[in-house]
Every structure is written in structure tokens, then in C-alpha cells.
């Protein structure tokens, strides 16, 4: 009973590559990992928006969004912000080191439903991590979708995650990328201000569009307000929640927002659903 398919027992994966996205107290480091076990490597499947519990024996586990799209290859990417015990220990790791991974967990973005639509991602800070797989997915299946608009901001240019990648994207024709930082900096070519105002600046049309937002709670709140001002219907808006979780499989209890278990009913939520739950933006 305990041995077979024990959902708490993680797989071992090796870090192929690791680099810092941002520096400072709350640095973000991205890891590209590959499962050690060939069988797992082959059979592993995840969809954009899902996450996984990654950890180290003796330290613990953290729920982290899978920031790579399955279309990119047989590997997983995690972008981890240094916060506490586990993430700190993860930051010490380098290529060649191993981590444990279990999952994938949670629901995913309904990328099939979205076919033929315009996709707008609105991210802030580390919140870009769960949005990256959609961007990659849409890029890989470019024909299936209309315009892709990326709106992303952080406090300073040094805090922008995936900056190189995003700046490259701008040059491709059918993807538009809008970056912002909170306060003026030298040599900054893009917008200065908060993400919700950048959204108004970009002023996307709600027609046949899907808006997906992720970031700090306060940013989400204002982005939602602004999307409504831009006449987006609730059903057109998606967001992801990141409540604290321990088990990842709906047992440990803490991640609920009202009657929703973020780990199972989420982390991706349609705003129409979320609006029913008063606790979700507390």
C-alpha cells in the first residue's frame, strides 16, 4: 500500500543548467532539470500552468511553478526566488547537483479552449514564472493562436525575470512585449510605472482575447480592476494563486481559498469562479 505509487515519494532529477535571473536579497535562480530515471523522464507529462514540489532531503520541499512548456523538450525549468529555508538551500545548487521533484500538480491553463484567440499575459515579478510556459506554448503552436501580447514589469530592471528572452521576443513580429519598471532608471528604454498602468497604456482590446495575470496580490487586484475598465468579461480573465501548501495533493489543508483547494482546483482560476470566493484576494 505504502510503497506503490506513494504520492509523497519524489523522483530524483539532476540539474543540467542553472543561472541567476536576478540578484539581491530575493534573487531568482532558474534551474533546468532532467529526471535521472529514464522511465520517468519519458512518461512525465505536464501542461502549462502546472507546478511541482521540488526539494532536498533534509531541508524540505517547496511548490514551484514549472516555468518551461512541454513543447520545449524533455526537461523542466523552475525559477525559484530565494525566500526561506528551502529556497535558500536550492539557491546553493549548481549544475550537476540533484533535487527531488514530485508532481505535476494542479490544473492548467485551458490552452485548447483558447485556440484561435488573442493571448495577453500580464505579469509582475516572480509572477512571470507560471506565465512563461504559456508564452512558450503559444510560440510553439503559433498557428493555433492570434496575437500574443506580453506585459511584464518589476520594481527595477535588475528584478526582471527572463529579461534576455523577453527582449528577444520583441523583435519577432507577431509577439509584442511590453516591459516596465516602477521607477526611472538610466538606459531604460521601456515603460516606467506600475504594471496596471502599463496595461492601460497598451490598451488591449477585449475582443476574442484572453488575459492571464499573475504577480503580487496587490498588483493582481489593480490589474483586474483595469481589465474590467477595458471591458474584459470575467470569463476572459485568468489568474493563478500561490497559497502556501505542503502536500500538493489536497490533504494537508492549508491552501484553500474558500471552498477551493488551490493545489487541486487551481492554481489556475478563471476570474468568474474566483469572484465567488471572497477569501481569494484577502
Amino acid at each position: 500500500m505504502r510503497e506503490n505509487g506513494n504520492p509523497y515519494k519524489p523522483h530524483v532529477a539532476s540539474i543540467e543548467d542553472a543561472w541567476y535571473e536576478t540578484y539581491g536579497d530575493r534573487a531568482i535562480k532558474t534551474f533546468k532539470v532532467v529526471f535521472d530515471d529514464e522511465e520517468i523522464k519519458e512518461s512525465w507529462e505536464h501542461r502549462p500552468g502546472q507546478c511541482a514540489m521540488i526539494g532536498l532531503p533534509g531541508v524540505g520541499e517547496s511548490m514551484i511553478s514549472i516555468s518551461s512548456s512541454p513543447t520545449e523538450g524533455k526537461f523542466l525549468r523552475f525559477s525559484v526566488m530565494r525566500m526561506g529555508k528551502v529556497t535558500q538551500a536550492l539557491h546553493e545548487l549548481e549544475p550537476g547537483d540533484k533535487i527531488t521533484v514530485r508532481g505535476p500538480y494542479g490544473n492548467s491553463f485551458p490552452v485548447d479552449e483558447w485556440k484561435g484567440k488573442k493571448i495577453i499575459t500580464i505579469g509582475g515579478g516572480i509572477g512571470q514564472a507560471p506565465l512563461r510556459p504559456i508564452i512558450e506554448y503559444v510560440k510553439a503552436n503559433r498557428a493555433d493562436y492570434e496575437d500574443l501580447t506580453i506585459i511584464y514589469g518589476s520594481r527595477t530592471s535588475g528584478d526582471l525575470c527572463f529579461k534576455g528572452e523577453l527582449e528577444e521576443v520583441t523583435s519577432t513580429d507577431d509577439v509584442s512585449c511590453h516591459l516596465s519598471i516602477d521607477v526611472e532608471e538610466e538606459n531604460w528604454q521601456h515603460y516606467v510605472g506600475f504594471v496596471p498602468s502599463l496595461l492601460m497604456e497598451v490598451n488591449p482590446s477585449p475582443e476574442n482575447a484572453i488575459a492571464i495575470t499573475c504577480g503580487p496580490p496587490i498588483m493582481i487586484r489593480f490589474v483586474l480592476e483595469n481589465l474590467k475598465k477595458l471591458n474584459f468579461e470575467d470569463e476572459q480573465i485568468y489568474t493563478t494563486l500561490e497559497n502556501r501548501m505542503k502536500c500538493g495533493i489536497g490533504k494537508c489543508g492549508r491552501c484553500n481559498a474558500g471552498n477551493l483547494y488551490v493545489c487541486k482546483d487551481g492554481p489556475v482560476f478563471n476570474y468568474a469562479t474566483l469572484k465567488q470566493v471572497p477569501e481569494s484576494f484577502a
Binding site: A27, R82, Q88, H91, E92, L93, E94, D97
Partner: protein, 665 residues
């Protein structure tokens, strides 16, 4: 950035010193298996140049970022290896040492046991090394000036030494003149030179030295800051006389309506003064001061038609509107030379000091025998017609010293000799006097003291061993009741004059200074030095030094010697221009601090203060460590229940893993 720990372990043979009892190879092998250890090597002498080179090379080649050296005591070579790390570009605090020589190979014979112990010590060091953090060795600039509090001989000497070395000195003296107790003395033991003759020139020097700013009749109100950077606030009390204009002629005092009506502090009440006064003729500065508590004009707003003094002053120096003046300045060091008070003899009522005029304290006696004293040096008692010269004179020693009943267990270190001195002077002035000294012990420990004591005895002074129990009046005479403990005979000695050799006590106002500078008191209530043997002029507060009797009773030579010590300590600080701040100091996690202030109470160095912090919009008080003051003892850390204050390099998180390893069998 938090790099993954890559530890290098270096096991030293120390020739055969370690290798004889500890099996080096297994220990090295064991170390190489420990978590995060990248390299484990051993070498015959790690501290030698090739040994250190080994470490430096590995740091470069293997990218090591923590080093564990298993060798001799860190007390021996910690600095050596820290340097090695620094030379290789690594923070010197990424070093941990395992002492497998002094505390292992040299104290155990059994190879197996010693090896097992060495393994554990290495494992424990590795466990800690994994968690070491880089530390910064900070330096702070030193303000090239010194504050000297107290203008007695101690303060004067220290001020002159520092000023002569070319640094600015601010001297703050409470009374209107510098000089302190020494100025009150007649002659000084054992050489019997005239106190005024040797002191006055120094007093004048202090006043005229270009590097010294003298503030008499002033007091320090506030000192903030820390070593090298003290901010001082001084209140210069109003003298009601313009210092610039006063020429010190003394006409005002002559005119004062209260002339000779006020007991003179300087003459300890034996003499009298006016309400406007110069404490004593040689006073420095030679400027008059109006006593605000006595002056009729100041206390009642009226002094006859108009104050006679002001009218009389030829230079129109009076200014009754004058207010206290506040001065602020910065200094790098502080010398506390506030001296002592003499024991209040009325606290021993059995000696009748408060009741009988012919019971005097030694200090009063000093004034009485002094040529500049109220009697011009004649020993006469009583007034006017009743005046007489005492013949039978007794001294009682140890009044207020070595006496538990008054709370002074210590010896005042001067009374034996000044009693001998006074006895000698009495003999000199009243050759037929019959002088006896009641004593418990005679302590003549200083240079020339024993010789002086001998001389006085040869002059005919009788030493009687006994501790008088009572003094009472019988007719004109005073009767001393005492048991001669050598002959075990009870005596009743009839005398004309009793002189009480009062001891030296801490100043009544020590608390003020303690609060100003966060100093501590020792058991005797004098200021506590940093170390009784090795740092007798330093205090727990860096940059604050003690000189003279403020630290404990002493005579003039010792006072001067200590003043010079304090001056040199201050000069070392000032001339280097910078102070290194400890690196392994305490640091507060303000987010979890619970405002209890335990650490503030505990810190022996006053290095912690409570400051306000904003916690989600609420103002809370949290502890903050002054990096320049913390010495890194860690006493605060173990006293903090919430674990909010931690000592760098000795954090709970770094020590607990050491325990985990030690338990591994």
C-alpha cells in the same frame, strides 16, 4: 550570494606532535566523506609557508569557499590562517579550526581514542564551517580630541600630556577652580614638598595651554555616541561675572555684605568666605564667582539698595542677568578623573565629630596646618579669647575605611601616610605636643613610606594599636575609650584634639557619570575598570578611561601615574585615527525582537539600545546593536528568549549543528 559550501579540510601532522597519537590518514579520509567537503588533505606543518600555499592553491583551483584547519589551538594560529584566506581572496572569517593538538594529541595517549576524538572535532568544525558567513572588519574614524572630566591632579596631568602630544583637550571641572583635593593639602608625604608649589604651575599650564579648553564651574550634561565619536554637551554655569572683564582683584569680595559669613568649601568649613568668592588664592582661573545659593541679590532679588559688589567692581564685570551656557563638541576619547569625597565622619557618631569642635577630620587638619589656611598655619582651636593650642593630640585611623559597618571594606591607601605626615607637621608646629595615633595596622607600602613612618616614630609620635570605641567629653578634655590590643588593656585617654583620619569614598554624584557613560561600579562603588590587572585604566565602554581616585583610593604618585596611563591610552586611540570594530559582533533580527530589553540590561558594554521601528504600520521598539561598542561576548545572545539577537560566527544556527555531529557515535 549564497554559494554552495565547498569546504577544504587540512589536517596538520605538526611534525609528530599530532601524527604520533592521531592517525592522520583515516581522519583525512573521514573528513573527505563529510557533507560539502570538496578537498581533504594533510600536511606536515600547515602553518608553514608551503602548508599555507596548499590552502591558497586549493582555494583558487578547487574554488573552495570554507576552510577547516585541524591543527593546533586557534589561539595559536587562527590569525595566521585568516591571513592565508585573505591572501587567497577569501573572507578571513570563512575559517574554522579543529584543535587536535593541545586538546587532543597532547592530552591523550591512546591512538584509537585520540583518532576518534579528532574525527569528531573535525566533523564538528565542518558542520559549523558549512554555515559560516563572511564578516566585515569595519573601522571608524576617531575625532582627535579628548574630554577630561575633573580637574584634580589626575585630570590636570592627563590633560597636559594629551595637549602636549598635540591633541585638543576639553577639561570640565565642576567647581570654580581646578586643583581638586591636592590644592587643599599643605605638604605631601613622604617627601614633604609643598603641595601648592608643585601643583600651582600645572594648574596655570592647564589654563594657558593652547590645546586645552578649560571649562570650570561647568558640568557634562550629556554624552552620546561611541568610541572615537562622542558627542558632548556641557553646561557652563552662570558665574554672574564676565570672565573676560574680571581681573581677579577681589574688591567685590571685600565689599560683599556676607563677607566672612559663609563657610568656605576649600577650607572645609574651617574658614569663611563671601558670597562672591575665589575658592582659594591660587585658584585657576583667578576669576570670581557669585554663589547663587547664598548671594542676597540672587536669592532675594535685593541686596541693600544695590549690590555692593557690583558697584565696587572696577571693571564692571558683574552681570546678574547671566544665564547658563550650553556648549557642544565632539571628542574621540573621554577620561574620567572625578576623584573622591572624604568620608563623612558624622556617620560614625561614636567619635562625636558632629558634637565636639575639637574633633576634626584630617582634611580640616590639612587646612589648619596649611600656611595658606584660615589660621595661617597655626594650630589653634577655639575663637578669639578662647583660642588655645592643643597639646594632647590623638589621631584615629581607618575612619570609614576597612569598616563593614559603614559599607567600606576597602583600605583607603592614603590615611596611614597622611596621618604620619600630619603627626609630623603637628610636631613641627607644636614641638611639645604629645601625639598618639590609634591604629589597626600601618600600611607603608610605597616608595619611601616605611622610612617616613620610621622617622615620624623616632620624632616621638606614639602608635597605639587599638580601635577606639567611644569619644566623650570630660571637663575641657575629650576622653577616648579604647582597648590597647597589644597589651589588652582598656584605656581612657584624655586629649585636647582628636583628628579623624577619614577615608576616601566614591563621589556622592557617581551615578551621574555612570548614567552619562554607562560605566559600572565595582564592589567598593568606585568606577569599575575593564580588568583589574591588565586594563586598570580602561572601562567597559571603549574610549573611556579612568584616572586618579575615581577608580579607587590612591595617593598622588599613583594618581599621576595612572593619569599618564589614561592619557597614553587615549593618545593611542587618537593618534591611530581609526578604531577597528570587532567583526564577530551581535546583530538583531528586528522582525522578531519582542522589545523586552533584556539584551540592553545584559550587555556589559552598553552596546545595545532600544530604537523605534515600524512593523506593518505599528511603532514598536526593537533592540539595535552599536557595532562600534559591541565586543562580541555573546552574553546578550544567550539571554534573548526569542533568539532575535545573534552573534556573528557564533549564531545558534551555527552552534546547534556542531552539537548534532558530536552526538554521532
Amino acid at each position: 550570494m549564497n554559494n554552495k559550501p565547498r569546504i577544504g579540510v587540512y589536517v596538520c601532522h605538526c611534525g609528530i606532535n599530532i601524527a604520533k597519537t592521531v592517525e592522520i590518514d583515516p581522519v583525512t579520509e573521514y573528513a573527505s566523506q563529510l557533507p560539502n567537503v570538496k578537498v581533504a588533505r594533510n600536511y606536515s606543518y600547515m602553518c608553514s609557508d608551503p602548508g599555507q600555499l596548499l590552502i591558497r592553491e586549493d582555494i583558487e583551483k578547487e574554488g573552495l569557499n570554507r576552510i577547516v584547519v585541524a591543527s593546533c589551538s586557534p589561539r595559536m594560529h587562527e590569525l595566521t590562517f585568516r591571513k592565508t584566506l585573505a591572501e587567497a581572496g577569501l573572507n578571513p572569517y570563512f575559517l574554522e579550526m579543529a584543535n587536535i593538538r593541545e586538546q587532543c594529541s597532547w592530552v591523550h595517549e591512546d591512538v584509537e581514542e585520540a583518532t576518534a576524538k579528532a574525527r569528531k572535532l573535525v566533523a564538528s568544525s565542518v558542520a559549523k564551517a558549512r554555515l559560516l558567513e563572511p564578516l566585515e572588519e569595519k573601522e571608524v574614524d576617531v575625532e582627535p580630541a579628548t574630554l577630561v572630566i575633573g580637574g584634580g591632579i589626575a585630570g590636570i596631568q592627563a590633560a597636559l600630556d594629551i595637549a602636549n602630544a598635540g591633541f585638543k583637550v576639553y577639561m570640565v571641572e565642576k567647581t570654580p577652580s581646578v586643583g581638586g583635593t591636592m590644592a587643599q593639602l599643605d605638604k605631601t608625604f613622604p617627601t614633604l614638598d609643598c603641595s601648592a608649589c608643585i601643583l600651582t604651575p600645572k594648574m596655570v599650564d592647564v589654563a594657558s595651554h593652547p590645546n586645552i579648553e578649560l571649562m570650570t564651574y561647568s558640568q557634562v550634561e550629556e554624552i552620546t555616541g561611541y568610541v572615537g565619536n562622542f558627542e558632548v554637551k556641557v553646561r557652563k554655569k552662570a558665574r554672574y561675572i564676565d570672565m573676560e572683564k574680571c581681573t581677579g582683584c577681589g574688591i567685590c569680595a571685600e565689599e560683599c555684605r556676607l563677607k566672612n559669613r559663609i563657610p568656605s568649601e576649600f577650607d572645609v568649613g574651617v574658614g569663611k568666605r563671601s558670597a562672591v568668592y575665589l575658592p582659594f588664592p591660587q585658584a585657576v582661573p583667578a576669576k570670581y564667582t557669585v554663589d547663587p545659593e547664598r548671594c542676597l541679590f540672587l536669592t532675594r532679588g535685593k541686596c541693600g539698595e544695590s549690590p555692593k559688589c557690583a558697584d565696587a567692581c572696577p571693571s564692571q564685570a558683574f552681570d546678574f542677568e547671566q544665564a547658563d551656557e550650553m556648549v557642544e563638541f565632539k571628542v574621540g576619547a573621554v577620561i574620567v578623573a572625578t576623584g573622591f569625597d572624604v568620608f563623612d565622619a558624622s556617620r560614625k557618631p561614636e567619635y562625636g565629630y558632629a558634637d565636639y569642635d575639637n574633633v576634626l577630620t584630617a582634611l580640616e587638619m590639612e587646612r589648619l596646618v596649611s600656611a595658606s589656611g584660615p589660621t595661617g598655619g597655626k594650630i589653634v582651636l577655639g575663637k578669639g579669647d578662647e583660642a588655645y593650642t592643643p597639646k594632647d593630640i590623638a589621631f584615629i585611623k581607618c575612619v570609614g575605611s576597612r569598616d563593614e559597618s559603614v559599607g567600606n571594606e576597602y583600605c583607603s591607601r592614603g590615611c596611614c601616610m597622611y596621618t604620619a605626615k600630619l603627626a609630623h607637621l603637628v610636631h613641627e608646629k607644636i614641638p611639645d605636643a604629645n601625639v598618639r595615633i590609634y591604629y589597626m595596622d600601618v600600611r607603608a607600602f610605597g616608595k619611601g613610606f616605611e622610612e617616613f613612618y620610621d622617622r615620624v616614630r623616632r620624632e616621638g609620635v606614639r602608635y597605639i594599636r587599638g580601635n577606639p570605641s567611644e569619644i566623650f567629653k570630660r571637663g575641657d578634655k575629650l576622653v577616648i575609650k579604647v582597648e590597647d590590643t597589644l597589651t589588652a588593656k582598656a584605656l581612657e585617654d584624655e586629649v585636647d584634639l582628636v583628628v579623624l583620619a577619614v577615608g576616601l569614598e566614591p563621589r556622592k554624584d557617581v551615578r551621574e557619570i555612570i548614567d552619562l557613560l554607562r560605566l559600572s561600579q565595582s564592589g567598593d562603588r568606585f568606577f569599575l575598570e575593564a580588568h583589574p590587572k591588565l586594563a586598570p585604566v580602561d572601562t567597559a565602554t571603549d574610549g573611556v578611561y579612568l584616572a586618579g581616585c575615581a577608580q579607587g583610593p590612591k595617593d598622588i604618585p599613583d594618581t599621576v601615574a595612572q593619569a599618564k596611563g589614561a592619557a597614553s591610552s587615549a593618545l593611542i586611540l587618537l593618534s591611530s585615527g581609526k578604531v577597528k570594530v570587532q567583526a564577530q559582533i551581535a546583530i538583531v533580527n528586528e522582525a522578531t525582537c519582542r522589545s523586552c530589553g533584556y539584551c540592553v540590561e545584559i550587555c556589559p558594554y552598553g552596546a545595545i539600545e532600544m530604537v523605534e521601528a515600524n512593523r506593518m504600520g505599528h511603532i514598536v521598539s526593537v533592540a539595535r546593536v552599536n557595532e562600534a561598542l559591541c565586543k562580541g561576548c555573546g552574553a546578550c545572545v544567550a539571554g534573548c528568549f526569542s533568539g532575535s539577537i545573534q552573534q556573528k560566527s557564533f549564531k545558534d544556527a551555527q552552534i546547534l549543528p556542531q552539537l548534532a555531529v558530536l552526538g554521532v557515535k
